[in-house]
Subunit: 326 residues, 2 copies
DNA sequence: CTGAAAGCGCTTACAG
DNA sequence: CTGAAAGCGCTTACAG
């Protein structure tokens, strides 16, 4: 205890907590700071939490940390949290096999709030009822369980992709749809269908695919191998799927983008690692995390955060071109 | 407090802490459990930490969370931690611009130990001197600061890549070397040079590259565009660099693997997302995280963990082949 | 301007 | 077998 080196416990707390102005003399304050520096003193957070009844810790529930996208969401949330003396604890859904873990051990009891992605619905179910303030990410804004929602303008992104392809002259588009029952993917499907439906003679058909390169490749091979006129463009629900679609095209002897155009969603590093580089809808993952954390902080302040919808942007690259003359 | 619903505080603590056998009657124990269930009682972790002087929290220091590799390291560490009632807090090094954050705010004071990657050296410097138990990942085993080290057999991986290429008939290999001053990359360079040096007439030249697809591409273009006999194989320090190398080859009109072979390190999802799929040295990232956490737990038990070296495996895929006849 | 005291919710000897 | 009490290190009224 820094008390040994000067004054009383209360004074130390005041000075180090920046609440001393007009209550402690400048001389004393400086003495306290010097002693703290000397001793390398750090306040005990457990004691502070106990006293304050808050832990300044948030739980981020994500489907899996091994995907670049959610790693970035975390990064954004964490940065904002740090600026407010908050910490973010991750709760990645148990992926694959393995015993389901208790999300509250050891987190729950020392949590102030939860930020959750709609894709981590299962994990979230365990957290529900905790009565903790909840901010949902990329989710149905009408979900009553969430005190606030931070969304991406996903529908607009799907429309931008459709408009890009339509303007290029494509009329037969296939949608490689993520086989995940989540609000964000339903929105993509609906917006895409509507946008394409507005152009006479244009059609979309949807093909479900698990979220992996391999399953994307298989789904694309199904679509492209089907009898009847072949689609000239593949709109994929994310970049991973799009990478799989490109592999499928190549296997079938089709060139991207000359014979078939491909678009993705996310703009992961993968989008520019593959060749040709992917035309994709960039989702500002870090901004999502940051906005989620801000909303949670607002909630903890007893105020009502505004629902946010972040804009989204199509990045045209080398995987799209006019359809083959034929 | 569950006390209201039954007995004394001490009894509740004993029962819920599974320390009651022979000290509390079965009847009382059951009554306590029932009451806890009823009230949805959760012990306050801050109070427990304060009392026990331990927080059951570890800090994982990594260079950046946005890379799939470290996301997996975290996943492994987290899984082990959870099995022991421990939490893992991430401290990603400040990447790019932005104010350097204080790694101790709010983590430090409530940390029991640190697990750190050698690639996060800068961030670690801030943590040093904290006097916390430290487990280093993929680092120089002679580093005195670490109480334990968890390593990958990186040298063997480099040797496997070299042997694979040499067996295929390659004699001129170039090394796209990560431009990061870290033990793990120095080991790769040395092991590769030694392995190639053992074969008469075989040569390696190293070309530094920043760890991105774009910088990998540029470095590969420098190597391949140089006057004199062109290398027939490119050994890259990671998969990202290898993806860049493949793009460079294609830009120069060279086919992978017919004209030039490429290998990577890591075996990220990226390795099979690109076309052709990458021959690469698979590093068991999750196992590294898990072993790191186990070592830290051993340390916290007052025992001395053994240094670990995890085996590594070359995965031959489509980016390597015999050199062109010529 | 500064200090003594209470109390946050636990766990762990110590009595009984 | 069970309870009363101390104490972990803070912060915040409350005195002085």
């Amino acid at each position: 205890m820094a008390r040994a080196a000067g004054v009383s416990q209360a004074t130390v707390s005041l000075v180090l907590g920046e609440k001393w102005s007009g209550r402690v003399s400048e001389r004393t304050a400086e003495a306290v700071r010097a002693a703290a520096r000397e001793l390398g003193y750090r306040p005990n957070l457990a004691a502070r939490s106990l006293r304050l009844g808050r832990t300044r810790t948030a739980l981020l529930v994500v489907p899996a940390l091994t995907t670049e996208f959610f790693a970035r969401v975390y990064t954004g949330a964490e940065r904002v949290a740090a600026g407010h003396g908050f910490g973010v604890v991750l709760y990645p859904s148990p992926e694959g096999v393995g015993p389901a873990r208790d999300p509250f051990d050891p987190a729950r009891a020392s949590l102030d709030g939860v930020i959750a992605s709609s894709m981590a619905a299962d994990a979230l179910a365990a957290v529900r009822g905790g009565g903790l303030p909840l901010v949902m990410l990329d989710s149905d804004p009408d979900d009553a369980a969430a005190a606030a929602t931070v969304n991406l303008d996903i529908a607009d992104g799907a429309r931008q992709a459709a408009a890009h392809l339509l303007a290029l002259g494509h009329r037969r588009v296939a949608h490689l749809a993520a086989a995940v029952d989540s609000w964000t993917f339903r929105v993509r499907a609906r917006a895409l269908a509507e946008a394409v439906g507005e152009v006479p003679g244009a059609t979309v058909c949807a093909e479900p695919a698990g979220l992996s390169v391999e399953e994307g490749r298989q789904a694309a091979e199904r679509v492209l191998g089907r009898p009847g006129p072949r689609p000239t463009a593949l709109v994929c629900d994310d970049d991973i799927l799009a990478a799989g679609a490109c592999k499928a095209a190549r296997r079938l002897g089709l060139r991207v983008p000359d014979d078939i155009s491909v678009t993705g969603f996310d703009d992961l590093a993968l989008a520019t690692a593959v060749d040709p580089e992917l035309t994709t809808v960039r989702l500002p993952a870090e901004a999502v995390g940051a906005a989620g954390m801000r909303a949670l902080l607002t909630l903890l302040d007893g105020e009502t955060p505004q629902d946010t919808t972040l804009p989204v942007e199509l990045i045209p690259r080398a995987s799209t071109a006019p359809p083959p003359a034929n």
